[in-house]
Amino acid sequence: MPGNVWVMAEQWRGELSEITYELLALGRELADGLGVQLEAVLLGHDARGLAATLGAADGILYADDPAFTEPTAAARSQTLASLAEERRPHCLLLGLTNLTADLAGILPAQLGAPFVNYCRDVRVADGKLEARCILYGGKMDAAVEAAAEPVLLGVLPGVRPADQGLKSGAPQVEDVTASVPDAPRVRFTKYLEPEAGDVDITQQEVLVAVGRGIANEDNVELAEEIATALGGAVCGSRPVIDQGWLPLSRQVGKSGATVKPKFYLAAGISGAPEHTEGMKGSDVIIAINTDPDAPIFGVAHYGMVADCLEILPALVETVAAKKG
């Protein structure tokens, strides 16, 4: 008799993250497929109220401790490990976001349990879980099975629509014991907000995004011209930010913003999961890349195998012509 399906409820600054609901939607399918219960694990401090939207779960396990107000992994890992040893769930779904990454790294080691990373889908087949994972930045797809329980699954954002997992009517909340280290060796001090950006890219209707393919800082201007003409803004993938060609406030993806504009032009962006998770909800995505196998074409609505350094200047003209 397999144990239950657990979903780690993720919080960010007092609210549950969208990925929590995506995982609940997936968790519900898995629990039904295995014929077991779906439980959400909520770790917080004076946060019981957050359970109100976790109606998609059959039950909620809530542990309360001041340590959970800090965005550190050790207390969470210890608590989850102890809970898992006691309750023996079949699997635990963890969202692969910056908030849960460290936990996803430590917990499997602490539990001695299998970890399956970069899951873009999980299904039940013959009473077992089969995960489909993205490898090599999206260049390969792997079917993966685990050899022991509990199976810890690192699940990429966007695995299911969030609204499928968002249900009110809080099910039973069970208080469980937190288990936290006495003398934490990693201690949170404070948050550092990004520099007051001139522009909030999450509020833009049109975004022109540049990646490594833009080759140098000068060419970002081309993107600016197009963005400005369309009443939007420029944003970028991680490599462009790392080089200092755009400020941190313009980063889209895992360590940056999640955006859902009406129009997203991805110029010279390969489309690794860390970026696409931040933009794949856009209404229309057009991707330009010289590599026909670039993973970005898997999330784009339109694509062209071309050099963005040739398309962007031509697009500057097209836009100017249509406007003027």
């Binding site: 260049k139 390969m140 001090t189 990004p194 999450t202 080089q243 895992k254 062209m304």
Partner: protein
Amino acid sequence: MNILAVLKMVPDVVEELEVGDDGKSLDLDFLRLIVNERDEHALEQALLLKDKHGGSVTAVAIDAPEIDDVLFTALAKGADRAVKITDVEEGLSTRAAASLLAQVLPKVPNLLPADLVLAGCQATDDLDGQTAAVLAHGLELPYLGIVSQVDADGSTACVLSEFPGGVRGEFEVDMPAVLGIQASEKPPRYVPVAKVRAAMKSQTIEEVSAGTEPEASLAAVTGMTKPEAGGKAEMLDGSPEELAAKVGEILSERGLL
């Protein structure tokens, strides 16, 4: 300051990857390996800390094709020591490799304790674990990942880790510690080829036999496939002008132009 930088090789995606005959691993014929980009950042961060505070940097890796080039490059960039762990079965999973390192590193002469152990916080072939986190657990050291800034003074490190929306968190970490590096404070430095070649002639890579069997991986790939090329995108053709015109049409259709 005594810092370890842990490096590994991953498939180079500039070459087209193909599925091998067994249907669940990569075709080795045209496979080239490249150092994990995040590990390069980890090495750079180690060198930056050494530039600032003095001390020594040791580059460590498990034996793999082309790893010698990577280790000599690390030495040429300024690492003081390079250690290669040998007699390890090929193709270990991330987790198995990290667990092995946690067992072997304490046995390498004059290596541990280090003040900091830096490794990339992720790699594209991390199917069953994160190297830095698993290593930290095995060495019983504190861990913080997604690190983009580190400074260390005495017995604690002041570390910045990344959160969503460009927000960063500041942490105090007791040393010795393992940090999973997302990005070094400056891009990895360039090293002239002549310096690397000189390192190959004048410096040596210490070889240490693992002397232990790796643990079994707890997750296995049962099948591997190439995602459909192009995926769901409708592919457009034409000259740059024609393609730009098509983009213009799409914008107009949506009332954005």
